[in-house]
Amino acid sequence: MLEIKDLKSNDEITWCPGCGDFGILNALKKSLVKLDRPLNEILLVSGIGQAAKLPHYLNCNCFNGLHGRALPVAFAAKAANCKLTVIVTTGDGDCYGEGGNHFLHNLRRNIDITVVVHDNQIYGLTKGQASPTTDLGYVTKVQTEGVVLEAFRPLEVAICMGAGFVARGFSADSEHLSWLITEGVKHKGFSLIDVLQPCVTFNKQNTYEWYSKRIYKINDDPNYHPEDKDAAMKKAAEWGERIPIGIIYRNEEKKSYEEKRGLLDKPALVEEDISQIDIKPILKDFI
């Protein structure tokens, strides 16, 4: 049985004290203990940003690549070795801004990975510019008269592009978030978990208090069925006075990329013997 202490890495944590990222790290640890999978078969992939540092703080495989580029790496690693449990830790800028195109197309691929987005609605590492999810009107050093671009709507986009598991969590409720991550990892296909995560240094609007006043747990409502796509689209769009958290949409019927490409019954690509590949039989086609 895996224990929390097994997950500790010897790397020093460099987040600001009070950062919402701590809650996500704790939730992820709880999920990994619950899932109880061998740590050397877990791969955490990240891009750049505060969220992208998270894999260093766990005792799992880590590929910390480029800004916005976590998803293509994660997709490919999973496709190459389906036995790996692949989790992406990314941010609103990394996933919805710089890596927006990869977000759209990996939703279409429906590869079986879990994407945890640390969504603090601001750019932290570059010190306070608007992110794709910053609310309209929010004033920053760059958006001096307030944000005029519509906020990106990750949950609606994910549902509409074909993800089978779309959820929203809150970093201060790490039990609930851990449940979402665990369910997301168990889901056979692309899982998006957008996590409301207060940036204590640069986001003066979307604070712990601001979120706490607004959020409610959608799955507590016995009349809410995450399998109902129309209802899910409505809830995914809800933002403002009331913000739902929980599993917004779930569809276990959709086939994953691995299933569609027949990868599940095959060994990992690295297991293939390539010591002497004979191409002679196909040379007859080049005559």
Binding site: S9, N10, N40, C62, N101, L263, I274, I287
Partner: protein, 569 residues
């Protein structure tokens, strides 16, 4: 008797010029001729002017000629377009009635191409076979040659289609027999032997398959796309996963992701797509992830000439990616070399845990030659990852362990009992982020100095020909190999030697200094405007060239162009 013939099939995009070209190429190859075939096509699916150029001879061919002996004009526009590049005794085969041409010219040979196609096959599609039959006869070959090829090409189309094509070819053949009595285009052939018909892109794809590439990923871009087509065609047979990426940024990051799991992966693109890949190239350098990337060059900047050829990405590929890290850049000159260097690229990439780049161009990518199959035999593939058996005992792994060679043992995730940290930030031996100055220095030395030192001992040597006593030495890289080779053979008495570089990075500086020591004059031959190879030579060796023969009209060098330049010297 002629020693060689150049045939051009000219018409609009969509008229099946490539099919007719490939039928003829195969027929002449099977009949014992050497061939060099190349396509000149516009960036459009219909209309415009495209042509397929086929050079045939008894002696081995490596390049093109400027003028044609026989032009088959499939549309009216081709008549005037191809007329200016016709040899004195050359002919233009055309359908005067169809083109409403009343004019006469001694070079015209009228053929009711469209009428014969309709009569024999019932559709204009069959004009290709009519033309093939006609050319078979004009070059003095027996009908059985074209019959065999048509039966082969249409084997899976059913007996009816085969018969219609054979009838069409027979009609063309008979028309020539009755109306073209001259033997001016007869050629002597060699004894037929089994040979392949392969272009540069086929060779790269075959090399990748043979080297154990298990993941191929790209965004389609001319002229690199056919590499993906060939790999995809054989993907099932060799268990290769092929994925079309949403963009080139994704493509390079995907191959990095696969390579991180221990399998071999490759992508290919052209200059514009390669621009998007440069950040990922730098990532491969920093994370020390083995990857193979092909840049099939076309004329740029920006969209440039999408379907034409150039060698202007040399400086770009040498320097692509931010920061300093070791890389290898191969520049194959023939399909055989493209095959071999692709297998070598996979080997070096994994051995040194670096990105290896293969530069080709539209000319090499799309040109066909007859090649004996042993050129494509597979060498035994060596792996450099920690074996599965050895992995089991590893619990405390350092991805970037410092070693004398700069190369750290390469572990496969899930095979070892420990975990692996790879990072694009500067990192410690364990792979964690650091800002320590001393660690930084050691890591730069590892990734750059130490690996380059090893790679310099493994440079693919320059290929030198006729240097003894040569007063002029021509230097080229990549697809200019063919024209250099034939020019040096044609100019033997004038003492012209040449050197072809199959690898430009690490640069073979010391070898070149030795090879060029006695050269009185040094010219570079480059399909670019900036004399980039000449500049590289000067930078790396201090040697200044006397002249650079440059061509940047989007078309490849041909033997006649180079000969004219050399006569001026």
């Amino acid at each position: 008797m002629n020693s060689e013939i150049t045939i051009k099939i000219s018409g609009e995009a969509g008229q099946g010029i490539e099919t007719i070209g490939m039928v003829l190429s195969k027929m002449f190859k099977d009949a014992g001729f050497s061939i060099f075939a190349n396509q000149d096509y516009m960036s459009r699916v219909r209309g415009g002017n495209n042509f397929f150029q086929l050079r045939i001879s008894q002696k081995p061919l490596f390049t093109l000629r400027k003028n044609s002996d026989i032009v088959v004009a499939l549309d009216k526009a081709s008549v005037d377009l191809q007329r200016k590049n016709l040899n004195p005794k050359g002919i233009i085969i055309l359908d005067k009635k169809k083109f409403s041409l009343t004019e006469d010219d001694k070079s015209f040979f009228d053929l009711p191409l469209y009428e014969l196609a309709l009569k024999t096959g019932g559709s204009e599609i069959f004009l290709n076979s009519v033309a093939c039959g006609l050319l078979t006869r004009i070059l003095g070959l027996d009908f059985s040659h074209v019959e065999r090829v048509l039966r082969f090409i249409f084997a899976d189309k059913g007996e009816e289609i085969i018969k219609k094509n054979l009838d069409a070819a027979q009609a063309g053949y008979d028309h020539a027999r009755d109306n073209f009595k001259a033997d001016i285009f007869y050629l002597k052939a060699n004894r037929p032997e089994e040979k392949l018909l392969i272009n540069g892109n086929d060779a790269i794809a075959l090399g990748a398959i043979a080297a154990g590439c298990k993941f191929y990923c790209a965004y389609p871009m001319t002229p690199s796309t056919s590499i993906m087509n060939v790999v995809a065609h054989y993907a099932k047979k060799f268990n290769i996963l092929v994925e079309q990426a949403e963009d080139e940024i994704a493509a390079i990051n995907m191959i990095i992701g696969v390579s991180f799991t221990g399998a071999r992966a490759m992508t290919a693109t052209s200059g514009g797509g390669f621009c998007l890949m440069t950040e990922g190239l730098s990532l491969a350098g920093m994370t020390e992830t083995p990857i193979v990337v092909v840049d099939a060059q076309r004329p740029a900047p920006a969209t440039g000439f999408p379907t034409r050829t150039e060698q202007a990405d040399l400086n770009f590929v040498l320097h692509a990616g931010h920061g300093e890290f070791a890389r290898v850049v191969f520049t194959p000159g023939t399909a055989e070399e493209a095959f071999f260097l692709t297998t070598r690229a996979f080997d070096l990439a994994e051995k040194y845990q670096i990105p290896v780049l293969i530069m080709t161009d539209q000319h090499l990518a799309d040109s066909y030659r007859d090649i004996k199959s042993p050129a494509f035999k597979q060498l035994k593939t060596k792996r450099y990852i920690i074996s599965k058996d050895d992995s089991k005992s590893i619990t405390d792994y350092k991805r970037y362990k410092l070693t004398a060679s700069g190369i750290s043992p390469l572990a496969v995730p899930s095979w070892i009992n420990g975990v692996i940290y790879a990072d694009s930030d500067e990192h410690t031996e364990e792979g964690h982020i650091t800002e320590d100055a001393q660690v930084r220095v050691k890591m730069v030395e590892k990734r750059f100095y130490k690996k380059m030192k090893g790679l310099e001992k493994e440079i693919e040597p320059p290929k030198a020909f006729n240097l003894k006593g040569a007063d002029t030495v021509l230097l080229g890289f990549g697809s200019t190999y063919g024209v250099l080779k034939e020019a040096s053979e044609n100019f033997k008495e004038k003492r012209i030697g040449f050197i072809h570089l199959p690898q430009v990075w690490p640069f073979p500086a010391s070898t070149l200094k030795k090879l060029l020591k006695n050269a009185k004059k040094i010219y570079t031959l480059e399909n670019n405007a900036g004399a980039q190879l000449a500049n590289l030579l000067r930078r790396e060796t201090g040697i200044e060239v006397d002249k650079s023969i440059l061509k940047f009209d989007g078309r490849p060098f041909d033997l006649d162009f180079l000969s004219a330049q050399l006569k001026k010297r």
